[in-house]
Symmetry: D2
Subunit: 391 residues, 4 copies
């Protein structure tokens, strides 16, 4: 049986890169570089095959997938020859990419979404469907009493209230439809107590927060290095220059604050203290999808001696994120089939701001991930049980 991947933001750079890449891999046109789940340490786990993924999703934009892929090729994100070779398949993929449904109230919208997910699952005879949020980052949501309590949430929605930010409404709908949910952005998504409760009740797992693709990835190995060597980090200052839709959005104060808070957690968690310095995100339109980050670290060694290091990271965000989306869809699907529900803190490896009691150092996250994958049943696909998702 195949596995569904439902992308919120399906016409965005990350989604189209992930989709194009999955098609390329299925057709033998590219290797699995960047796909963590294709490493030997994880490849043995009971994960759905890359070639068994079926894609669908929502987007508010209407650009065609093929055109978007072409634009990504022009921008240097995708190889032009690959996009040409896959044009037909990209056109075919349009079938399952839809505008976001809008009903009169959030309860109605969520019901439409859940129906879409069920329809997608049935049309393709899917073992299960993982919903992945790769839409534009929202501003931090205003607090609301219904966020903390599932009964209050359901009452609020039933009463016609607009109580959830869009990313959380998507998580709500996913859970209602019995689908695992992955928060690839810093938006609120499933990270509300009421939604955590709902996931438990529906016996679906979820993962998040905020895919770790560049500067924070590097931080998550360098900060532990300083800690392990008993070197005292005095300052850690970061500057991120990026363009593209993500950059434009993150230049807005709301999303920017959400993101930079997310990017600093790794220091507090791995060092045990917070060094001086801030992380900046500046919009640089011309940079497009290529982000340049510069970090300066000053530290103190033996007898107070001050030293320093800096690094520059020049990465293509969508190319770094896309394979992780595929990894997360596979892992969440397998966890679901294995009967896991609630927060998957074992997937901290992939996130800037991981859920639950999870380590922040990359090596510890890696070990946790490998142990998790090793514990998945080999024959997870096809005869899944213990998760009640009524196939």
């Amino acid at each position: 049986m195949s596995t569904g991947v439902w992308l919120i933001g399906a016409r965005g750079s990350v989604a189209v890169t992930a989709l194009t890449g999955a098609l390329a891999l299925r057709n033998g046109l590219a290797g699995p570089t960047g796909c963590v789940t294709e490493l030997p340490e994880l490849a043995g786990a009971g994960l759905p095959a890359l070639s068994d993924l079926v894609f669908g999703g929502y987007d508010v934009a209407s650009v065609s997938l093929a055109k978007k892929a072409g634009a990504l090729a022009d921008a240097g994100v995708l190889p032009a020859a690959l996009v040409r070779a896959l044009e037909e398949e990209l056109v075919a993929a349009e079938q399952e990419v839809h505008p976001l449904p809008v009903a009169g109230d959030q309860a109605g919208t969520a019901a439409m979404m859940a129906a879409d997910l069920a329809g997608f699952r049935e049309r393709h005879g899917l073992a299960n469907v993982v919903v992945v949020n790769v839409a534009t980052t929202e501003p931090a949501a205003a607090p609301h009493p219904a966020h903390a309590d599932l009964a209050a949430l359901e009452a609020g929605l039933a009463g016609g209230g607009q109580v959830l930010p869009p990313s959380s409404l998507a998580a709500y709908a996913a859970f209602q439809a019995g689908c695992p949910f992955v928060d690839f952005t810093p938006s609120t998504g499933a990270r509300l107590p009421a939604l955590d409760r709902l996931a438990a009740r529906q016996a679906v797992p979820y993962a998040g927060h905020d895919g770790k693709t560049g500067e924070t990835l590097v931080k998550s190995v360098l900060a532990p290095m300083f800690a392990m060597r008993h070197l005292r980090v005095r300052t850690w200052s970061g500057t991120n220059l990026l363009g593209g839709g993500d950059g434009a959005n993150l230049a807005e104060p709301g999303p920017n604050a959400a993101k930079t808070a997310s990017k600093q957690k790794v220091l507090r968690e791995t060092l045990g203290y917070v060094p001086q310095g801030d992380t900046r995100i500046d919009y640089l339109e011309d940079a497009g999808d290529f982000k340049t980050a510069w970090d300066l670290v000053t530290f103190e060694g033996f007898l107070g001696r001050r030293m320093r290091m800096d690094f520059t990271w020049h990465g293509c965000d969508s190319a770094l994120a896309a394979p992780l989306v595929l990894d997360l869809a596979r892992l969440a699907a397998a966890a679901h089939r294995a009967g896991r529900s609630g927060a998957l803190h074992e997937l901290a490896f992939f996130f800037k701001d991981p859920l639950g009691p999870a380590p922040h150092g990359l090596a510890d996250q890696w070990r946790l991930l490998c142990d998790f994958a090793a514990g998945l049943p080999e024959d997870g696909v096809g005869d899944g049980d213990g998760d009640g998702d009524t196939r």
Copy 2:
């Protein structure tokens, strides 16, 4: 009972920084920043206290310890106030720093060394003595049949042959005297099959190779990061600019080759392949003890997309190395008392080119070190018999 630390190269920058630092810590004039064995994860282990270390050693140079410490203060390695405060103790430490003994042949020299070590142990009533090589790096030694076989080695020495490079002769003498040996440099030292055999016979442990203090330390976390993310490193090029005695020496082709080979191993071991690119060491007299390293890494991500990062490391070599010398002395002493002999591959964390079947990624090395320390008997100190070779 106290523990002895016998430094080969006792008047060099690393040794004098280690000595001054140990005196500062003992007198409450400085904190343990940079001392790995003072981290909570290791502090509980059965290690001799920093304040119980007694220092002695050899050097070919004759500059006084106080004068050398003053020069290190002028160069910004040591705090000037600290050096002034410890002047008297530095003068007192002269008592146990001696010229290298020279007999008519290597067997005679080794016997004089072993006698010096025994005398040092007895004069101070030491539980045991760890010999640490922090002398100038030698050129790679010419192969010799006696290196591979202990009987041949002993026969060769007995016959008056000059069969060992100086660092290996020091290891030989240490083992003969029942002393653990630590190779902090890339010189050959104990890393000969004949000496490994001797260490086993004498029931003494040894550790090495080549303290990992800067560029290679960073490599040992970044390279695993690329591997864990399935990103293909295409090139890794490094430039090291350093002055000081170490820099001048490493500018010589012989030692330079020894060192750069040592610095590249981490890539092959953690990535599983060797990317293009070289590591350079260039002498820059004016840099003194402050090394600047620049590394450029280019890598390939999803669908072949090329990306890059570079980092600059500006560290004070002696300040980075000195606390590790103290760590290694404590750990080797404790291992000795715990009955360990032969290569201590669990100390790979400290070395560029670790002995034996050891991991090269820093996080794995850290775990191995913590497990090792946790396994040391708590009451290791106090019931040692002075050389530990009669258990």
Copy 3:
């Protein structure tokens, strides 16, 4: 005859470094590195000798000069041995450093300042006195009609109005006292039409704006390089991390805006267009007086090919600024004696945001400066005329 240098902010880092340096040079304890006016191209000009400078000034702080110099030594700005050697002279210099005078209104304050300047000149028999503003940067001043017109300004002051920001009041007082004025900060200072008119009437010259010591200095050679090679700069993004009093102040939105605007002008003026990207100033307390700037430049070459460069500048701000303060005092004094009045656009070399119709590329500024110095009368000191300062 000697020349007076009256520092607004005389107990600040820049002023104390300049004073200590001038004393060191006079006593043969240091060479003139960093002093532009000691280069062969300028040394022949009719400038007052460094040893003929007499220092005084104002400050709101009360820390002693010797104590401040000691703190600068601890921070690595000044050599400790130099500060010790000059302690007596630093104590003697206290004689002419005073609290800022405060009268009931600005007119009264200005009169007290002018009297202080006249008194300083007479007490020391000075040829003239140059007032240099090295005080903390002010927020951009609110516009006021009296700024544009000298009569309105004088009427406003006479009427008891608070019409000038502090830096401009200092310029006003200087001009009233017949003293040249140098704006070393981005504060408003003399840059008001009414003050320009006053300088002309009083026949005194003035110079400014905002000493160019680091990132902007580099920009002023790199931007012309791109222009001369017909390479199109697409983006230029800068991050400045600095601590110290200057850093703390520049972290305030008002002064920060004043400064970053000043730092970007060089691009528009030398490239002829404004590339994308911003210049940031972030406060990093721990950095103290040592500023780290990182700039990323992306550019387009032949047939649209994109390329990039970045640079990191790690400078000690006070050490870079202090010799320029001495240079400017000498040059402004000589210009005054040579009969120049009004804006000295020939000193653009020294400033981020130069006055008047001046080039922004460093090489053109250098040529202008050399020509200016060459035109100064050789025997400018002692028999100066044409400036009416009544010696």
Copy 4:
């Protein structure tokens, strides 16, 4: 009348990029970014139009121009769409690209070359032909007595001797044919006293040495900046990582030494002293035509304070070099028509190691270039007689 450009190394990356670019500009498919002679300061000069250049040349390789252009597009040097659009014209350009002639001795080879140049000039009715050496860098040539004296050289050649390195033989042939010669590489070329004499006799100008496209370009503005500010550069260390044919060749000790010597001259000439530190060129095959250079500069400021800066340059060598080849061809042709002969030191702006008594700072070189261009006769084109040596 048109102007000929004869490229030695016509199938190499620089030549094919220059040719493709000239075709693109002529067809309005690209703008003149990177072409110095299209800047307003030079555009008014009496230069042949870009659209009036006719290309020919030699190469030992046999790859077709269109195929090479395609490879450059794949490597990211040329836009793929441009190469497709110009394919026909690239095929047409094959007509005038020939294998290097080889006779039994150097005199014969030179005669064949001179005949080729004359034939090219006649076939296309060219005003004159500029020979530009863009071939692979040679090792430094062994000294030979005939290099110093024209009569000895002619005697040596007449006697069948192999007295000139290939680049110098090309210059010899060019001069014999009455053609200006441009040395774009560090090879010996025209820089022999005997050839200088020959150029004077033949009344042809020549220019060189070694196109300045990246690291040295930056040095030529930064080093003067330090000098103008009286900052003492203590060390300047450079690392260049490059691939491509040029990189492979420069990894050979001979050419490498020639090139690094050339790259360091700018420091001695602009600073007046030689700081510590070396410039390295390392071959990194994977880098292809994209060179990354990293330079670290440490300097001393006021009162001995040490500071530092570093920069990273990531440029596409062929894209940087190609427009300069067009610039130099136009300038050399115009100089020829204006009656200039011998070394054109006014073109120092373009070279790492300029000929004759020329400044090394870029700004001074720029001024010299502008003055030179301004002095060219407006109507230089059209009344040339094909070699200009009879005015």
